[in-house]
C-alpha cells in the first residue's frame, strides 16, 4: 500500500521563504541527511524509519545575523556539536520527520509548484513491511 506525504514550504521567522534542502547545517548533523537530495527530497529506494527526515527544510530565526556566520576554519575545524551550539540558534530545522505512520520505502519524490510556492510530495510504499 502507498502513502503520500506532502510538505508545503512556509515562511521563516523573518518572513522569508523556507528552503527545501539536504543541507540543514548547522542545525542537523549532516550524517542524518545523506539520504536527501539537493532539494531535500529522499532518494528513491530509501527505507524510511521513524525518526528519519522525510523532507529536509530550513529557515532563519529572528536571531539570524549575517555578520555572525561561522568561518571556514570553524566549519572545517570544529566538531559539529560545537558549531551547532555556537550558530544553530540562527536557523530552524522545519523538516518533516517520520513517525510510526509515515515509514516505508520511497517510491517517488518530487517538488510541485503551487502558485509562487512549492510543495514536496513523497510517495512511500509500506507493503514491504
Amino acid at each position: 500500500m502507498s502513502k503520500i506525504v506532502e510538505v508545503v514550504r512556509g515562511t521563516d521567522e523573518l518572513g522569508q521563504m523556507e528552503e527545501f534542502t539536504w543541507d540543514l547545517f548547522p542545525t542537523v548533523d549532516p550524517r542524518k541527511t545523506t539520504h536527501l537530495t539537493t532539494n531535500g527530497l529522499p532518494n528513491v529506494g530509501t527505507r524510511i524509519f521513524p525518526g528519519m527526515i522525510i523532507v529536509g527544510k530550513i529557515g532563519k530565526t529572528r536571531a539570524y545575523d549575517a555578520s555572525r556566520q561561522p568561518t571556514a576554519l570553524e566549519i572545517q575545524g570544529l566538531p559539529f556539536d560545537e558549531l551547532r551550539s555556537r550558530y544553530g540558534i540562527m536557523w530552524k530545522d522545519s523538516s518533516l520527520y517520520a513517525d510510526s505512520r509515515t515509514t516505508g520505502i520511497v517510491k517517488e519524490a518530487y517538488l510541485e509548484d503551487e502558485g509562487m510556492n512549492q510543495r514536496a510530495v513523497v510517495v512511500l510504499d509500506d507493503s514491504a513491511g
Binding site: 528552503e19 534542502t21 539536504w22 543541507d23 547545517f25 548547522p26 548533523d29 549532516p30 550524517r31 541527511t33 545523506t34 539537493t38 530550513i58 549575517a66 555578520s67 556566520q69 561561522p70 568561518t71 571556514a72 576554519l73 570553524e74 566549519i75 572545517q76 575545524g77 570544529l78
Partner: protein, 151 residues
C-alpha cells in the same frame, strides 16, 4: 583583550543581498576570478579526486557525504567558481593531515589558516594538481596570500 573577529576571505555563505558580509572581506571569489565551471564539470573534477559534489547552503568539504559542497548562493549564472572549488577540494585533501583541527589547536586566525590553505593549493598545482585553475586564478591566489599576510 577584545576578541579579534576573523573575516573569512571567501565567505561560506551568501555574499550579496540581505546576507551581505562585512565589506572588508574579499567578499567573493568572483571578484578575483572570472568565469567558472558548470556543475557537471565541477562534479567530474571532484569525482576524479574521489570526492562527491553537492550544491548546498554553505560551502565546505562535508565529511558525511565525502563531498565538496558549494553554496547555491555562491553560484554565478549557475556556474561554480574555480577558486572556490579548489579551496573546498583542498579541505578534502587536508583531512588526511587534520589541517583544520591542527590550525585550531595552533591558535591560527582565519586569515593565517587561509594563507596556509592557499599555499597548499599552489603547491598542489605546481605538482600537477588543480589543472582546471587558470593563470588568472593562480595569480589571484598569490595576491590573496600577500594580502592575508599583510593583515
Amino acid at each position: 583583550m577584545a576578541e579579534k573577529r576573523c573575516q573569512d576571505p571567501f565567505p561560506a555563505s551568501p555574499t550579496k543581498g540581505p546576507d551581505t558580509f562585512s565589506p572588508d572581506t574579499f567578499s567573493s571569489p568572483w571578484e578575483r576570478s572570472t568565469g567558472g565551471l558548470t556543475k557537471e564539470e565541477a562534479a567530474a573534477l571532484a569525482k576524479k579526486e574521489g570526492f562527491g559534489f553537492e550544491i548546498g547552503r554553505v560551502s565546505r568539504f562535508e565529511n558525511a557525504r565525502d563531498a565538496v559542497v558549494i553554496a547555491k548562493s555562491n553560484l554565478k549564472d549557475g556556474l561554480v567558481n574555480r577558486m572556490e572549488l579548489a579551496e573546498e577540494m583542498q579541505h578534502g585533501f587536508d583531512r588526511a593531515t587534520y589541517e583544520a583541527s591542527r590550525a585550531t589547536r595552533r591558535g591560527l586566525s582565519n586569515e593565517e589558516f587561509h594563507t596556509e590553505l592557499f599555499e597548499r593549493i599552489l603547491a598542489r598545482h605546481k605538482e600537477g594538481g588543480y589543472q582546471f585553475l587558470t593563470p588568472e586564478d593562480i595569480k589571484a591566489f598569490q595576491d590573496a596570500i600577500k594580502e592575508l599576510r599583510g593583515r
